[in-house]
């Protein structure tokens, strides 16, 4: 599955501990430095796809103040995907830094 930025951020949000839907939204905001604000519809579309692909699973359900909170966690497959994508981004960032460090020729 090709990873969009939003999907990658959701995977990252679930990487350190299981989180419920609202917890994922907050963590994604923190990870993206307040730039990505997931709507509930978008979040559950991503979670549905991740669960169907076997990259995330339900870990627990609790009721807090009358609200059902279902916690999600990464599966080993999901963790492998997020680690591989992080490595790709890191490699890209290294290459980008090398390119930007070269002197620019032919510019005006």
């Amino acid at each position: 599955m090709a990873l969009s930025e939003q999907t990658y951020l959701v995977l990252l949000a679930l990487a350190d501990e299981p989180r419920h839907g609202y917890g994922v939204v907050q963590e994604v905001r923190t990870l993206s430095d307040d730039r990505v604000k997931l709507g509930a519809g978008t979040l559950y579309g991503i979670l549905d796809r991740l669960v169907a692909a076997g990259q995330a699973e339900v870990s627990n359900e609790v009721v807090v103040e009358g609200r059902l909170r279902r916690y999600y966690r990464l599966t080993p497959g999901g963790r492998a995907v997020v680690e591989a994508h992080t490595a790709e981004l890191a490699a890209l960032a290294r290459r980008a830094r090398r390119v930007l460090a070269r002197p620019a020729f032919g510019g005006v």
Binding site: H20, G21, Y22, V25, G39, A40, G41, T42, L43, Y44, G45, D48, R67, L68, R69, R70
Partner: protein, 376 residues
């Protein structure tokens, strides 16, 4: 209503974009997230969040169902879908607009056959075909919004599409044939709708009959006395009033007989253990709103100078005969408990007989799921 209730109502409205099954599993969870995102002061879901749910809900609907080819085979040719998508079919059959979708399918097939042929013969003939489309679609909507009327169609569809065929493995929680309650239209809802429909019919057809320039008259054919045909003729106003007055008189007389039967038989009616009485007024009024303008348009057409009114006088006589009986039946159901069905009133009022006890019917039910007994 508290702010939380108001918010939940607003959110659940948008959540209807998701499939029924998805909502039954995840609806409360998503509602909790929506409340958290909106904050404690919110009384309704923001339009932006609502549109996001609408988009995601429809994407989920599409992803949740069978592939396009299977979907088209089911929609257009009523083919069974593989076991993996039976739950999707169940939702479709139980869905609010099931009969409208079926009506659209029939119209599409007809259009596929007849439109190219008509266009090749005479393009002008396409217009009447288009005129058929709108009332036919309206009929589908009406059948859908008058809920119990379509129950038989849904049961037959469920038996065809959900029951396992020989060779298919029966799974726990899957579908199987079993005994189910007989669904009947609530007497209270049914009679109220009947009074509203007949009242509406009388309100448009009686004036149309009085205003029509000519009405049909029976006459014998000049060649043979055994033949009867209809011509048109201008009726005097007195004759029109006499005809309509007679119809109303017959109706009142029949209603008084029915009222006596209701008072005598209904209090001693038998219990109905295998019956489920249903009826939703809102949807049925919606049906009237859809059909009403069509009837007004048709009645107005019959009052034009060159037209012979046919439906208006027939409708006026029919509604005036039936309306008093319908009002009487409605009054009889007012104090009645919830087990009384429209069919009971028909049997009691028209035939003077005691209501029959409904037998359970063969329907589609879920196969029980075995559960492991818990430890004390």
């Amino acid at each position: 209503m508290s702010d939380t209730d108001q918010f939940d109502r607003s959110a659940r409205f948008w959540l209807r974009a998701y499939p029924v099954r998805w909502r039954s599993v995840r609806g409360d969870e998503l509602l909790g997230v929506l409340r958290d995102l909106a904050g404690p002061e919110a009384t309704r879901l923001s339009l932006r969040e609502g549109l996001g749910l609408l988009r995601s809900g429809w994407v989920t609907r599409w992803r949740d169902g069978p592939p396009l080819r299977t979907r088209l085979a089911y929609r257009l040719f009523d083919r069974r879908v593989p076991v993996a998508h039976r739950e999707w079919v169940r939702d479709d059959i139980a869905g609010r607009w099931f009969l409208t979708r079926r009506m659209m399918r029939t119209l599409l097939i007809w259009a596929g056959i007849f439109v190219p042929w008509m266009a090749s013969v005479d393009p002008h003939r396409l217009m009447p075909f288009a005129v058929i489309w709108v009332p036919a679609l309206a009929l589908g909507v009406v059948l859908d919004v008058a809920p119990p009327a379509n129950d038989r169609v849904r049961t037959v569809a469920a038996a065809k599409h959900l029951l396992p065929r020989p060779g298919e493995r029966a799974v726990p929680g899957g579908f199987t044939a079993g005994l189910a309650a007989r669904i009947r239209i609530s007497a209270r809802t049914g009679t109220l709708l009947l009074v509203a429909t007949l009242g509406f019919g009388a309100a448009i057809w009686v004036p149309a009959t009085m205003l029509a320039s000519s009405l049909p008259v029976p006459r014998t054919c000049p060649t043979s006395a055994a033949c009867l045909s209809f011509g048109s003729q201008s009726w005097p106003e007195g004759l029109r009033l006499l005809t309509l007055g007679t119809a109303l008189g017959v109706g009142v007389l029949a209603a008084s007989v029915a009222a006596g039967r209701f008072a005598r038989i209904l209090p001693a009616r038998p219990a109905q253990p295998s019956r489920l009485v249903v009826g939703h007024l809102g949807r049925q009024y919606a049906a009237l709103l859809i059909v009403g303008p069509l009837l007004v348009w048709q009645a107005r057409g019959e009052t034009l100078p060159a037209q012979t009114a046919v439906i208006a006088p027939l409708g006026a006589v029919l509604t005036l005969v039936l309306l008093p009986g319908a009002v009487t039946a409605w009054r009889a159901t007012r104090p009645g408990p919830a087990d009384l069905a429209l069919v009971d009133l028909w049997r009691v009022g028209l035939l003077g007989r005691v209501p029959q006890i409904d037998d359970p019917v063969t329907g589609v039910v879920r196969r029980p799921v075995a559960t492991r007994p818990g430890r004390p």
